[in-house]
């Protein structure tokens, strides 16, 4: 066999002590063939197709866990954006689709299903508008359904009308789920340059170029990178830090490659991508913030944080790219504030402001994620925060996203407990200056010069 004890113990340590896991195996399912002029028939088809394809997803995931001794934490489903499926029925209220997806998710035993989605880079179709209008009720009435909307891209620019409407939806969703701290907003995300094979919720969906069915794997492991850097110590220079992260990311991604192949084979479908993303959880040690602090900032948010995060994200991508030909999705480092114990602490001690977080998102793999703001934040301010974030993505040819939660009845500095994987948040101060006129102008931010490549 030729493995050294050291190699074997390293692997065991990663799984046992450093919380290495496969974060998700996500089954993408095309629902385009479910379109029907009659909404009830369309919803019946959506339910039947998801259940037919997704029924054995959990069992397959568990069989791989058993056979290989690898934890697969979540099994999820991503569908075609529902606005495309619903267009044929011409209805104004699309919540029946959300209920059908939710019921199917329950039967399949998955905790989340993504795909209550629309692409509106340049404008709305009637179905897109109907989907937007029904998002708050859809999220309030269902448990498993996640909504994601694409509001801009480098090719198309930013649709400011859609961003303004999205901001209203965020406030409406928070109000409808006020009894749960506005938690509906945790299932609602907007994108610039969306990733169409993203296996992670809330943004998971199966986009326009995706096959009939596909298995995408999300692999995590901030705890492993953290431990590797702790062993490296503070004397090593940054090249050594990058090398350590890269080697570690390589090993983590190989597990994703193994599970992806095996899951595709057992499901009888295509292996899509491995998304190697350091995705923190509230568990001690499973923190991207801890990694940044080990690289050398006193607290996440201190000067140097953006540089450290840039190094980390890049090294993760490089290690991943060597480990699998199928690396895709978002791949890099996630910085969901409420889900990372270190980041919550950084906000609590005043090290991490909203402005610094925005700067960090220009080099992380996603964007402003799980950020709590006061429940009375004006809609125009939300529009400004979202437009800023999406502009970073548009100009830099990268995916950026916003998952923001205006917590009803809470002000800056207040704490909100969502529990479970969603963690705890401290409400951040968006400042007292707004952008009312920008919000009211509407229209589009034209595509940047970077888009003219042909």
């Amino acid at each position: 066999m030729g493995f050294t004890d050291q190699e074997i113990l390293e692997t065991i340590r990663m799984f046992e002590l450093e919380t290495l896991d496969i974060r998700t195996t996500t089954l993408g399912i095309s629902l385009l063939d479910c379109a029907d002029p009659d909404i009830e028939s369309a919803c019946e088809k959506v339910y039947a197709k998801i259940v037919l394809h997704g029924r054995n997803l959990v069992a397959v995931g568990e069989s791989i866990s058993t056979d290989y001794g690898i934890r697969i934490v979540n099994k999820r489903i991503a569908t075609t954006p529902i606005a495309w499926v619903a267009a044929a029925c011409g209805e104004r209220d699309l919540t029946p689709f959300a209920r059908a997806m939710d019921a199917a998710a329950k039967v399949c035993g998955v905790d989340f299903i993504g795909g209550y989605s629309a692409y509106v880079y340049k404008g709305f179709t009637n179905a897109d508008r109907a989907l937007f209008d029904s998002i708050p009720r859809a999220l309030a009435q269902t448990n498993a359904v996640c909504a994601s909307v694409a509001l801009g891209s480098t090719r198309a620019g930013l649709n400011m009308d859609a961003i303004a409407r999205f901001s209203e939806l965020v406030l409406e969703t928070a109000a409808l789920t006020a009894d749960r701290g506005g938690l509906g907003c945790a299932k609602l995300v907007c994108f610039c340059n969306p990733v169409e094979d993203n296996p992670f919720v809330a943004g998971a969906h199966s986009g326009v170029g995706e096959p009939e069915t596909v298995i995408n794997v999300g692999v995590s492991g901030p705890g492993v990178v953290r431990s590797a850097l702790a062993r490296l110590g503070p004397q090593a220079d940054l090249l050594a830090v990058a090398e350590t992260v890269k080697r570690t990311a390589f090993k983590i991604t190989r597990m994703g490659e193994l599970v992806g192949r095996e899951a595709a084979r057992r499901m009888g479908t295509t292996f899509g991508i491995v998304d190697v993303s350091l995705a923190p959880t509230p568990a001690i040690g499973d923190s991207v913030s801890d990694i940044l602090e080990l690289i050398g900032v006193d607290r996440t948010g201190a000067p140097g944080t953006t540089a450290a995060l840039a190094l980390l994200t890049d090294a993760v991508k490089k290690g991943g790219a060597m480990a699998s030909s199928s690396v895709g999705g978002l791949s890099g480092a996630f910085i969901p504030v409420s889900e990372d114990a270190g980041m919550i602490e950084a906000v609590r001690v005043g090290a991490l402001s909203l402005a610094k977080l925005e700067a960090m998102t220009s080099v992380c793999s996603v964007g402003l994620d799980m950020v709590a703001v006061p429940g009375d934040t004006p809609v125009s301010t939300l529009t400004g925060i979202i437009a800023d974030e999406l502009a970073i993505g548009m100009v830099n040819h990268k995916t950026t996203a916003v998952r923001i939660i205006p917590v009803p009845g809470k002000g800056p500095g207040d704490t909100v407990e969502w529990g479970g994987l969603l963690g705890t948040a401290i409400v951040q101060d968006p400042g007292r200056f707004g952008c009312r006129v920008l919000h009211e102008r509407g229209g589009r931010v034209p595509a940047p010069l970077q888009s003219y490549k042909n």
Binding site: M1, F3, I8, I12, S30, K251, R265, T270
Partner: protein
């Protein structure tokens, strides 16, 4: 061409009697329920009651089933063939009989040890066994038998598939 889906509305339109569907057709649960309530029989071309089709995963899936087995696997020194190899590790306080307990459990599952290594540090041991599992043996059962050995203040045993180590440490 046969309909891909049969919904409640389709059954309603079909009226009483039998509704003949293609073997690939997906009949929604709501349609099945409506048909049962209204005495409509949903049957295939041979007159047999409809049964759920095998999921059609799409054209890429068919290609994937042909090509997936040909993806390069990380190199292995051993001729694994049709047998499964697993790596058993144990860590804990040393005492008489630890190795015997573990190998007895493996022996009862007809496993044969290919490689073994044990180190001691200040009264604690770590043990690594590479084991061949005969075809037909359930990995889950073996894992259950081995991982319940030892205990909290004694030692802890873990079983992982050899392929995990190969993917992580070999190209």
């Amino acid at each position: 061409m046969a309909k891909k889906f049969i919904t409640t509305e389709d059954v309603r339109r079909a009226g009483a009697g039998s509704l003949v569907v293609d073997s690939e057709t997906i009949v929604t649960p709501q349609a099945l329920e409506y048909a049962a309530q209204n005495g409509v029989r949903i049957v295939d071309a041979r007159g047999a009651a409809w049964s759920e089709p095998t999921p059609d995963r799409g054209p890429d899936a068919q290609r994937a089933m042909r090509t997936l087995p040909h993806l390069p696997e990380p190199a292995s020194d051993a001729d694994v063939g049709s047998t499964q190899m697993v790596v058993v590790t144990a860590v804990g306080r040393n005492r008489a009989g630890v190795l015997a307990e573990i190998t007895a459990a493996l022996s009862s599952a007809n496993c044969s040890v290919h490689d073994i290594s044990q180190k001691m540090v200040q009264g604690f041991f770590h043990l690594v066994l590479t084991v061949e599992v005969p075809p037909g043996t359930s990995f889950a059962q073996l894992k259950a038998v081995v991982e319940c050995l030892g205990g909290q203040d004694d030692y802890v045993c873990r079983v992982m598939h050899e392929r995990v180590f190969r993917f992580m440490h070999r190209l």
